[in-house]
């Protein structure tokens, strides 16, 4: 036994980053409620949740990818391509439910392409997904010749806009995915192996786990989440566009890192991802309510990321080196 360790707290990290973000968010909420009478209305809060839901769903997929030591830059393009596939199916007379399901699955297939190349050919995820980002976007543009697809059966909009009492399907889906992913991360082998892939891939390989299989499934998961976001996009906007979700990946990655998931892999915080997405949603909403230019949005978000990540890194370095 080594002295100086507190038996209960050694290295067991307190959710400092998450609490820090939560603190900022509470301050922001207080500030906005004072500044705008509309902020604390249910309808406005519902707007924030609705706008955050797509980002959250994709960020959850990305949390697994990043915690496994990877990165998925193709998610924005997958949103566009799945949206277009759904749009084409609807135009071709496929039923709304079937095209939605197939669309989301196509997202999974696109993720599988990333995953197989990354794991089997052992090429860096950054390289593979920066390639597939272009590839998927290119396919979307070629298929549509750059034009939006529109004029769908009205049922498609139910999923994005339908009223379920006080909330709508994207919000429910976002909440459901958040809860499901907390469970997956903590209580399934799949979640634990995602973390172990980022923590020490070699260790996982040596205990006889099929590293390639798990790696591939993580990218499939991320693809499915992006496909789901693509479905919400088309049903909310009632149109599918080849440039939907352009540059979305950088927002998503920023949210995941802001939430305290380490780029080095091995650690993940779904709670942090949820808080970070909500914080970004509140910032965007507040700026619109107060009619402040979006330049400040970029400035504010950038500052929060740098400050919060720096603080948590410094705190960690003060403890024992890992």
């Amino acid at each position: 036994m080594i002295k100086g360790y507190d038996k209960k707290s050694v290295g067991i990290e307190k959710p400092f980053t998450q609490l820090f973000l939560l603190g900022i968010m509470i301050l922001l909420v207080i500030f906005l409620s004072i500044k705008s009478p509309y902020f604390l209305t249910w309808n406005n809060l519902r707007n924030i949740l609705d706008h955050t839901s797509t980002q959250l769903i994709m960020a959850i997929g990305m949390t697994f990818v990043i915690s496994s030591g990877g990165i998925d830059l193709s998610v924005g393009s997958i949103v566009a391509l799945t949206g277009i596939c759904i749009g084409l199916m609807l135009k071709g007379g496929v039923s709304v439910v079937l095209s939605s399901i197939i669309g989301v699955l196509i997202g999974g297939i696109l993720g599988a392409i990333n995953g197989v190349i990354i794991s089997k050919l052992k090429i860096a995820p950054f390289i593979v997904t920066i390639g597939s980002m272009s590839l998927f976007r290119g396919i979307s543009l070629v298929i549509t010749e750059g034009m939006p697809i529109y004029g769908f059966p009205p049922q498609i909009t139910y999923f994005g806009k339908g009223d379920l009492g006080k909330i709508n399907p994207p919000i429910i889906l976002g909440i459901f995915m958040a809860i499901l992913s907390v469970f997956l991360l903590k209580y399934t082998k799949w979640g634990q192996y995602s973390l172990a892939l980022g923590g020490n891939e070699e260790a996982l390989r040596r205990v006889g786990v099929s590293v390639n299989f798990y790696k591939t499934t993580i990218y499939i998961f991320s693809g499915l989440m992006a496909g789901l976001a693509g479905l919400i996009y088309i049903s909310r906007l009632n149109a599918a566009e080849p440039n939907a979700g352009f540059m979305l990946e950088s927002d998503i990655i920023a949210a995941v890192i802001l939430g305290g998931t380490s780029m080095k892999g091995g650690k993940a915080s779904i709670g942090g991802t949820v808080i970070a997405c909500l914080l970004l949603g509140v910032v965007r909403n507040g700026l619109t309510l107060l009619s402040i230019s979006s330049y400040y949005q970029q400035l504010f978000i950038g500052a929060i990321i740098i400050i919060s990540v720096s603080i948590s890194e410094i705190r960690q370095r003060r403890q024992i080196q890992i």
Partner: protein
């Protein structure tokens, strides 16, 4: 050397040779690893001992010779076969996930689940406590990421994993090389306790005193050849030291050192 009766051989190597280009790393090496015993390989840098463990753990294939594991003959071993046959290697890097806690590392790849898919943490923590107690390993904080533990504790975790995951032969590569005096005493103590629990142990070391302290049988390797096979109870540490330094040449050029 005659074998004491009643000893069971877990694995043996017969006339194993391996060369890398013009360099002969191993020349007709023949040796045995017994159950319930600690076998040691000592030798200087370039003596070929690392090549030997790599052959046993399946990462490289010998050019010629045969390998017997529990009386089955193999030309070479793959990592998968080593895994299935219960050969575990505790490398110096220990292959631990530093972000994962003690239990998480011990159970990595062999997690206990309920209903077939939900991880049963309660049971895993209980089993870990039981296992560590059995092995006389003292790590009171099971939920601490192992990155925060000391070198000795980390090694205990790696050993704990090998033991838990049903291994039969545990190979140690320089187990105490990076440890302080107190820690290496504890580590030696732990390794010494393994044969009584039914394991075969193979240890590779520079440290003659450690080897002498814990092993039952010692193979001395020089330039890829077994030059001596010593039962511990037949020699004193001084004699052992002389046997090793005889004929050992200084190795200054990298090309002369295969390790």
């Amino acid at each position: 050397m005659e074998e004491p009766k009643g000893n069971i051989v877990f694995a043996s190597l017969k006339n194993i040779s391996k060369s890398f280009g013009k360099v002969n790393a191993l020349k007709n090496v023949t040796m045995e690893i017994e159950k319930n015993k600690i076998t040691a390989i000592v030798g200087d840098n370039g003596s070929g001992k690392s090549t030997l463990i790599k052959i046993l753990s399946g990462t490289i294939r010998p050019d010629s010779g045969s390998i017997y594991i529990e009386d089955n003959l193999y030309k070479y071993i793959t990592p998968k076969l080593a895994y299935e046959k219960g050969i575990a290697t505790v490398y110096q890097d220990l292959a631990l996930d530093n972000f994962r806690d003690v239990t998480g590392n011990i159970f990595l790849g062999k997690e206990i689940t309920k209903f077939g898919f939900i991880l049963d943490y309660e049971k895993m923590y209980r089993e870990t406590e039981f296992l560590l107690k059995n092995l006389n390993i003292n790590i009171p904080y099971l939920k601490t990421p192992v990155g925060y533990l000391s070198g000795g504790q980390r090694q205990s975790v790696a050993i704990g994993r090998a033991v838990y995951q049903g291994k039969k032969l545990i190979i140690f590569d320089e187990p105490t090389a990076a440890m302080g005096v107190k820690e290496s005493t504890a580590a030696n103590h732990l390794i010494k306790s393994l044969p009584d629990k039914g394991f075969a142990v193979l240890i590779i070391s520079h440290d003659i005193y450690q080897v002498f302290d814990i092993s039952d049988r010692i193979f001395i390797l020089e330039h890829g050849e077994v030059v001596d096979d010593v039962m511990k109870n037949q020699v004193t540490p001084q004699e052992l030291r002389e046997r090793i330094s005889l004929g050992a040449k200084n190795c200054l050029r990298e090309s002369e050192c295969i390790d």
